[in-house]
């Protein structure tokens, strides 16, 4: 298959399955299971990691410091305790301890309903033109 045919197949399949309806992180998920919302990875954790500290003023948006990337947002902070990994790299986001069900919203990607539990957030990476690793912003 030629390059153009591959790309057409990728585009056609994407159009066929296109679905931005609300999704639900499965209750039966095990620690290590992960949902990807665009460039954001949400991983169910067994517990709050030891190398974290509580965030005093948590924010609804999960990708701070970026206008574009700030569109992944929690619907509310009720029942949410937020932690930050103390020695984090540029791909590590907050850790969320949810005692209530919360929804992770995004204007383009389907919202994801998160049952109570501990979730680690991390960001997607790619390379820039000089092959330097960077955080993807969608």
């Amino acid at each position: 298959m030629q390059v153009a045919e591959h790309i057409k197949a990728i585009q056609d399949t994407a159009e066929e399955i296109r679905n931005d309806s609300e999704q639900r992180f499965p209750e039966a998920a095990s620690p290590g299971d992960c949902w990807r919302q665009g460039d954001l990875y949400i991983t169910l954790l067994a517990d709050i990691p030891a190398d974290t500290e509580k965030v005093k003023k948590p924010e609804l948006q999960l990708v701070p410091g970026s206008t574009q990337g700030s569109r992944h947002c929690l619907d509310s902070l009720s029942g949410v305790t937020c932690y930050q990994i103390t020695d984090s790299d540029q791909l590590a986001g907050p850790v969320l301890n949810l005692t209530k069900e919360r929804t992770l919203t995004h204007p383009e990607h389907g919202n994801v309903v998160l049952p109570p539990g501990v979730y680690g957030i991390h960001y997607q990476r790619d390379l820039d033109a000089e092959e330097r690793e960077r955080r993807v912003l969608d």
Binding site: Q11, T13, E15, I17, G32, D33, H109, N111, E131
Partner: protein, 348 residues
């Protein structure tokens, strides 16, 4: 006289507000022709006609139409102008004004003011507006026209204005310097006449905190329909790349010598289309059962390895840049996810 040793929070807020005014409001302020000419006359040799134009092309047009029969007429104008501008702005004004600030402000305050105001303005105005304007003047003016592009003096002017906010007495030369910076920072001249370039009517700064201009739907700096600067992420490009990127040819992209411009050309052309039309090579392909999508790993002609994949929510197709040693789509997805010990069970 006692040096000023402290400044209030309100004063620093006013300095920040001044910085923004110099970057936006002042850069696009439009002054009456009479005011521009009056200020220019303070620096120009006597009895030389002064024109106010909104494009270097207009200056070029007028200079050609009014070319004097004797090219040697006023042949010393260029040298005179250079000398006047240099002596009035550089050795005279800058040293006096800078000395005034240093003398009156405690060193720490001066350092803070410099960092907060001058350094930032200089980064923006010198590296971007000055650099791009100079390139455009170089390419738009003919051999008979010379120019002096002094927009970067605005950074010094803002710095002195900031000193006043902190309480430094206004120096008697400040008014002349400020008038020049506001009214006529860009000069062009032929052997017999002077042209002052009006300030731009619109400028669009980057919004990501990095100094530079950016507008992906029009000119980044708009002087007039005859003179505009086109920039993406602070990189100087042309109108086609901004307004009609889809009309670029693969040949144009590959012949582009500037690697930053080439990257922008491909980004705006669309990586999937570029790969399809440029002779990319497929390394691997698969159906992604988790996303329900198809994807392919490809090598582009410019040597990058890209995972072409799609978003199940938006159906947008992306070409993610991954390391060259990646051999399969699955490896590429794992690398994008940070090679973490996770199982992706769904995506939206």
């Amino acid at each position: 006289m006692t040096k000023i040793t402290t400044a209030t929070d309100e004063q620093w807020e006013a300095v920040e507000s001044l910085r923004l005014r110099w970057l936006n409001e002042y850069q696009t302020a439009q002054y009456p022709v009479s005011q521009i000419v009056a200020v220019a006359k303070l620096f120009a040799p006597q009895n030389i006609p002064i024109w106010v134009v909104d494009s270097p092309l207009v200056a070029r047009f007028i200079s050609v139409l009014t070319q004097p029969p004797d090219d040697n007429l006023n042949s010393n104008l260029a040298a005179n102008l250079n000398a006047n501008l240099e002596s009035n702005l550089n050795s005279n004004l800058e040293s006096n004004l800078d000395g005034n600030l240093q003398y009156n402000l405690y060193e720490t305050l001066n350092a803070n003011l410099h960092e907060n105001l001058h350094a930032n303005l200089h980064d923006n105005l010198h590296e971007n507006l000055y650099g791009n304007l100079q390139d455009n003047l170089d390419s738009n003016l003919n051999d008979n026209l010379r120019y002096y592009c002094g927009v970067w003096w605005n950074a010094w002017c803002g710095y002195y204005d900031g000193g006043e906010i902190l309480g430094v007495p206004r120096h008697d030369k400040h008014d002349l310097f400020a008038a020049w910076n506001h009214a006529c920072p860009v000069w062009m001249w032929s052997d017999s006449q002077i042209f002052i370039l009006r300030r731009p009517r619109e400028i669009h700064w980057r919004t990501d905190g990095i100094p530079g201009f950016h507008n992906d739907s029009g000119p980044a700096v708009f002087y007039s329909p005859l003179f505009q600067l086109w920039m993406i992420e602070g990189v100087s490009v042309d109108e086609q790349i901004v307004m009609h990127p889809e009309t670029q040819t693969i040949e144009q992209i590959h012949n582009e010598k500037n690697s930053e411009v080439q990257r922008i050309r491909i980004d705006r052309f669309g990586w999937p289309r570029y790969l399809a039309e440029s002779g990319a090579v497929v390394i691997d392909s698969r159906r992604n059962d988790i996303d329900g999508t198809k994807e392919a790993l490809m090598d582009s002609r410019n040597g990058q390895r890209r995972l072409v994949c799609s978003c199940p929510s938006t159906a947008k197709v992306f070409a993610m840049h991954v390391p060259r040693e990646t051999e399969t789509c699955e490896q590429a997805q794992r690398w994008l996810a940070g090679n973490r010990d996770i199982r992706v069970i769904g995506a939206s």
